[in-house]
């Protein structure tokens, strides 16, 4: 062994081109080690015998699921590559024939992801933040604490209809403007900065559970419910279930943040900001008026026509109207739309369908129920808690929409006739309070360089546990009255 190493060493020292090649191979390996790991794991699992009670196609779909989890979590290859790999493997491993895979690749949930991303870019492009800031200061500007509460509430309401990625992009500049030039070396100043940023972020995160259009995961779950349980949940029905949770969460979040970041708020510059935005002439900006009308029309359409047209088509209409009116160019939309995420969602939703079709989700649930039968306590509470905490935690490491597209079929399978399981899973997956990779809002907050992962987790842990408790109480005592 030693002589082989010496030989390798001598050879390596001599040959310059060998050095370049081996350096490239090593670099590739160091960057792609999780890809290599997932392939080795998949090959190993494929060589094991199929578990009893599970079809070969079902077993293979679960292997692909494991691969997707690894690849999405560690990102060794680009998302579009993961998406294509998911589709290719479904066919190659005999999970489904090509036509079936292609069919499951595109549905209303995917159109919604595409439409809402494009619609968001069109809205953000209009520069509505100044107008919104004027409204917020007008209503809540009497005191600094009221202003921050208002910032959180408005963020939540808007995010519930337009999605968190849209609203964080609009609201963050407002938050950053009032904390500009604050000295973060002093605790009071640092806490004022964190309180402001977290108010905006928590507002948008909490808001995204409120309506189906608040997040792609909500639409994905609605689609799954229609397909797998023939249960239809319309826009209003979702709001009746989720909005009370949103309101209670907002109140809790307000106090959690005051507790986590005690500050006098003396450094917050609302008056200075008010003067600054008063100078900008937004009143005559016709674009803002048109934008508001378009947004309102789209939200009303989601309410009234979601069953006939589908949420995705309506979201696409929003982007379409902005483009036809010349308020945003295709170049801007094309440059800023995350096409990789659209492809990935389409592929994971397709895999989610196959996990259900092949019976893999039923098999997993049967195994889970066997374990559950051993528990002395009420199985409903245990399975609910397991499902809600699992989806909530997974979403924090894997993002919410991808979690629901893969775990959604299993959540439905746990209680096919009880909509509360599916809704709880979708809502719990929106509790992205623990990690900065869990949602666009969290990542944007982290990217400001003002919030550390440790701070995000510490405050988030309190918020996550209280949110799960609120969800449990609501599903147990409020949803049964609906």
């Amino acid at each position: 062994m030693l002589s082989f190493l010496n030989l390798l060493n001598k050879f390596g020292a001599m040959n310059e081109s060998y050095k370049i090649i081996s350096s490239s191979i090593l670099y590739w390996f160091s960057q792609k080690k999780w890809f290599v790991f997932s392939v080795i794991l998949a090959i190993f699992l494929l060589n094991l015998s199929t578990p009893i009670g599970l079809t070969v196609a079902g077993y293979h779909s679960l292997i692909i699921l494991l691969m997707v989890f690894t690849l999405v979590t560690f990102e060794p290859i680009p998302f579009p590559a993961i998406a294509l790999l998911t589709l290719v493997l479904q066919v190659l491993l005999g999970v489904a024939p090509p036509d079936v895979v292609a069919e499951s690749f595109m549905n209303d949930a995917v159109l919604f992801v595409m439409g809402s991303l494009m619609f968001a870019i069109a809205i953000v492009h209009q520069g509505l933040d100044i107008r919104l800031a004027k409204i917020i200061i007008g209503i809540f500007g009497r005191s600094k604490r009221l202003f921050l509460g208002g910032l959180m509430t408005i963020s939540a309401i808007l995010s519930s209809f337009l999605g968190e990625h849209t609203i964080i992009a609009i609201m963050l500049p407002i938050g950053l403007s009032v904390i500009k030039n604050i000295d973060t070396k002093q605790t009071d100043g640092r806490n004022a900065v964190l309180l402001t940023l977290f108010s905006v972020a928590y507002g948008t995160i909490i808001g995204s559970i409120g309506t189906p259009s608040g997040g792609a995961r909500n639409v994905i779950m609605i689609n799954y419910l229609q397909e797998f349980s023939s249960i239809n949940i319309d826009y209003w029905e979702w709001m009746k279930h989720a909005y009370p949770i949103l309101i209670v969460q907002l109140v809790v979040a307000y106090f959690v943040l005051q507790f986590a970041f005690p500050t006098t708020l003396k450094n917050i510059q609302i008056k200075g900001y008010k003067k600054k935005i008063a100078k900008s002439n937004t009143r005559d900006n016709i674009n803002h008026l048109f934008s508001s009308i378009i947004i309102l029309l789209i939200v009303i359409s989601w309410f009234l026509f979601n069953e006939e047209l589908g949420l995705g088509i309506i979201a696409l209409c929003g982007a379409l109207i902005f483009m036809i009116c010349g308020m945003v160019s295709w170049e801007v939309i094309n440059k800023n739309t995350n096409w990789g995420v659209i492809l990935l969602f389409a592929a994971t939703i397709s895999l989610g369908f196959q996990i259900n079709e092949t019976g893999a989700s039923s098999w997993l649930v049967t195994k889970f129920n066997v374990l559950l039968a051993l528990m002395p306590e009420s199985s409903f509470d245990i399975s609910w808690s397991f499902m809600a905490i699992l989806t909530g935690l997974t979403a924090n490491f894997f993002t919410s929409s991808a979690t629901i597209s893969l775990l959604g079929p299993m959540a439905i399978e746990l209680q096919p006739s009880d909509v509360s399981f599916a809704l709880s899973a979708a809502i719990a997956s929106g509790f992205s309070f623990l990690t900065v990779i869990s949602s666009p809002t969290a990542m944007i907050l982290y990217s400001t360089g003002l919030v550390s992962t440790k701070t995000f987790f510490k405050v988030g842990l309190l918020m996550f546990t209280s949110s799960i408790a609120i969800l449990y109480l609501m599903s147990k005592f409020y949803w049964v009255t609906l």
């Binding site: 081996s22 870019i121 666009p440 990542m443 944007i444």
Partner: protein
């Protein structure tokens, strides 16, 4: 010569920037000061990009620009760039040059010699790409915290000499410690040490470590030749022979006021990746700045 200085937060980067600029000055090198922003998950990269564009429109600097502004002020205060009242950092333009790379274009003449770069992504990936595109000869990076793994990867994958700035103090009087051997990297280290010592009038302590091997006599010859070379160049120097384990001997010899400059290991890259190398171990264990020359 091209030098790349990677900076992080304002509090930790002052020593790195200070020493980096001293080296750049000694070599009259073109210098790139790079801030590598946090890696953004692929899920959110477009969302973050849209928010950053929005912040630019509202004159709220995107993350990293503040650090570059601090670096600019630091360079001005240390007179690395001339103070010019007509040119302020606020006059900057952010030029989006390619994916995840932005250049702060300072109006006026500064940008010819010093570039301020903002990159986003995984640090090794970004620095590797920066070195590849701009052909940097030396990459200088801070060594605080638990960055051992990162320094290993930097030395392994970046195609330039790497300096890890650890425990550097502006007020300390430094001496160069130059461990020599028969590798190509050692020749390069001798070259860099000579130029730097001449420019900054620093003494050099040349050392070699004998391991009771057949190559010992060769090492003695290299030590003598290097001593002669520096004496001829008018550089104050001493030559010392140490014995035992090279890593332990060098780490024990180097003190807080040393600038260790040594060559990269000629060992096979695969072996280095899995088992490490002597220069990397020295860089990790020494409590002073270490330059590994390639």
């Amino acid at each position: 010569m091209n030098i790349l200085i990677a900076i992080g937060g304002k509090e930790y980067s002052k020593p790195t920037l200070d020493l980096g600029m001293k080296i750049a000055n000694a070599f009259e090198a073109t210098t790139t000061i790079a801030y590598v922003g946090k890696k953004i998950s692929q899920f959110s990269e477009k969302d973050v990009s849209v928010v950053h564009q929005n912040l630019d429109n509202r004159e709220l600097y995107r993350p990293g620009v503040r650090t570059l502004e601090w670096a600019y002020d630091f360079l001005e205060s240390k007179k690395y760039i001339k103070k010019d009242n007509s040119i302020a950092f606020n006059d900057h333009l952010l030029i989006d040059e390619e994916n995840s790379r932005m250049r702060v274009l300072l109006k006026g003449s500064h940008s010819n010699k010093i570039d301020l770069i903002l990159r986003t992504g995984e640090i090794i990936d970004q620095l590797r790409s920066e070195v590849e595109t701009s052909n940097h000869d030396i990459t200088i990076i801070g060594g605080g915290g638990g960055n051992k793994g990162m320094h290993h990867k930097l030395v392994q994958f970046i195609d330039s000499s790497v300096m890890v700035v650890k425990n550097y103090s502006v007020n300390k009087k430094y001496r160069i410690v130059l461990p020599v051997n028969n590798s190509m990297g050692s020749n390069k280290a001798i070259e860099i040490a000579e130029k730097f010592a001449k420019s900054k009038k620093l003494p050099i302590e040349i050392i070699t470590v004998l391991e009771n091997k057949s190559s010992d006599e060769k090492l003695r010859t290299i030590l003598r030749k290097t001593e002669q070379k520096f004496t001829n160049a008018g550089i104050k120097n001493t030559a010392t022979i140490l014995e035992g384990d090279p890593v332990q001997a060098v780490v024990k010899y180097a003190k807080d006021d040393s600038l260790v400059m040594l060559g990269v290991s000629p060992k096979n890259l695969f072996l280095k990746y899995f088992f490490g190398s002597k220069p990397i171990s020295i860089a990790q264990q020494c409590n002073c700045p270490v330059l590994i020359a390639k």
